[in-house]
């Protein structure tokens, strides 16, 4: 069997496992499954930015933009779920587009720091402005409800909402996978591998980096909307630096060269995270140890363990785990 058909097979098995989860697990683990699905969406959209060679701290806050947008629209204006989903994505993309003008004048470490500053500014606004609920955030977000020809589905039900999330996430993953195969995916890789060469052959590097940042933000916005309904509430602290760091660590542990790498890292570490719930204060330390171990023993991430089975890169050159301090247009 060719690697391609094997990876398709693995994807189908994973999706089947996800579909069957609520049948074998209780509400608690089904809700956890919803969280994993949302995180997978966050990680795979984060990877779009990483594809262009940048690491960002702003991605989680852009997810928050989507979450707040949905919460406000459904609570104050009673918008239906699909409309809030689209609005959340659009608002995150818009905020990212505005941020991209100052941020993408920088690269590497400077971009990382800039994204952190911009993200914290937005997050602190949520905490200070009463419209966003201040430190308590927005709560009592009504669950989506669907009425179709006499049949009504209440997505307040854990299992139903899990399936709704799963559907949205899989559609988004397919869309991202498709983009990566299209020419734009090639352009992003070209920019990541050799920015100066990419410019010399006619690729307007900053335009495509901006496009990646904005598209990734749109998907983060969708993840934010899904999160808002899942928890029924939105608070600024859910989008703090901690979560931005987790996103980064999960990406590095999983590996960012392949589509399944980040998914793998996310699922493995979230399950791990959950099992550490009894020892909350140990978590950061354990994460540090995992990160060091992975960088020592699997510098390409966990995806390298699967490469012989699923295909993908067998020989991978060095990757910039720590953003380098390249200067603009060197």
């Amino acid at each position: 069997m060719r690697p391609r058909s094997i990876s398709t097979g693995v994807a189908i098995v994973l999706i089947a496992a996800a579909v069957l989860l609520p049948l074998v697990a209780g509400d608690y683990f089904t809700a956890f499954g919803t969280e994993i699905a949302i995180t997978v969406l966050m990680l795979s959209s984060y990877r779009i930015i990483v594809l262009t060679g940048e690491w960002s701290f702003a991605h989680v806050v852009l997810q928050g933009v989507g979450a707040y947008t949905a919460a406000i629209l459904v609570k104050d204006l009673g918008w239906p779920f699909p409309a809030t989903l689209a609005a959340g994505a659009a608002m995150s993309a818009l905020v990212a587009a505005i941020l991209s003008y100052p941020l993408l004048r920088m690269k590497g470490f400077y971009f990382l720091m800039g994204s952190f500053a911009a993200a914290e500014a937005i997050r602190l606004l949520w905490r200070k402005i009463p419209f966003f609920g201040g430190t308590r955030g927005l709560s009592n977000i009504p669950a989506p409800y669907l009425e179709l020809g006499g049949v009504s589905i209440d997505f307040g039900h854990t299992t139903n909402y899990f399936y709704l999330t799963l559907t949205v996430v899989i559609c988004c993953l397919l869309l991202m996978w498709w983009m990566e195969q299209a020419r734009i995916g090639g352009i992003w890789r070209a920019i990541q591998q050799q920015d100066v060469l990419a410019q010399s052959i006619g690729i307007e590097s900053r335009t495509y980096r901006r496009l990646a940042f904005v598209i990734a933000a749109a998907f983060a916005g969708i993840a934010g909307v899904l999160l808002a309904y899942a928890f029924g509430s939105v608070t600024a602290n859910r989008f703090s630096l901690n979560f931005a760091l987790y996103l980064m660590i999960w990406s590095i542990v999983g590996g960012t060269r392949t589509f399944y790498g980040v998914v793998l890292g996310g699922v493995v570490l979230m399950v791990f995270d959950e099992s550490l719930r009894f020892a909350e204060e140990l978590r950061p330390g354990v994460y540090g140890l995992i990160l060091i171990a992975v960088m020592l023993f699997f510098p390409q991430g966990l995806e390298r363990l699967l490469a012989p089975i699923v295909g993908g890169p067998t020989k991978a050159p060095r990757r910039d785990v720590v953003p380098s301090t390249r200067s603009e247009n060197a």
Partner: protein, 250 residues
Amino acid sequence: MTGILQLLAVRKAFGGLLAADEVSLSVVAGTIHGLIGPNGAGKTTLFSLITGFYRADSGTVVFDGTNVTPMSTSARARLGLVRTFQSNLLFSEQSAIENVVSGGLGTRSRQAFDWLFERPSQRAAVMERAREILQSCGLGDKAEVPAGSLSHGQQRILGIAVALAAGPRLLLLDEPFTGMTAREKDALVEIVQSIRARGASIVLVEHDMRAVMRLCDRITVLNFGKVLAEGTPDQVRRHPDVMAAYLGTA
């Protein structure tokens, strides 16, 4: 005689160092134009000014009737002004053929949204063209080899193949012969001639005088950021100022 590239009094200073001092020159379409001079004469700076990696302090760069002075590097490349690099800049994680395919990413058909909706049939045509380019550069049997595993000489030629994929009308080669074996140099001379035969003009910065004299129709000699002499290889070779610049005055 039409000039495909014209530099009009281009000036660029780095602090107190004048790297390009009111340089004017004209490259005739369909020719191979050499750019030589001692180390530090400003050849590579001039290259970067032509391709937009640097912006000129003053002066104008005209490419095929278009004033490209305010344009970015990538915009100039899309007009057909493409360069190679002194160092082996390649998409190092990709194979030779993937490198050439990537070389065409910025300049392939530019209909709206085709970056998102490229059809598989187009992909086959793209691969076919990439294969042709590799073949014409003598790398046909290295298509699947990772770029980083090629020899130095092969990497230099792959760099040219990547540039060719972008469809240049004027190709700027920055010291392409550096570090090559005699046999590789001979092969590269033929490749450069075949590129010209297919209609592209070429500007060549090179220290290897044998290659320069064999290839170039016209040569411009730079020294300390200034044009020292210009003419056919024979004229330049006999020019007293050129001899003084290279060998020093007695």
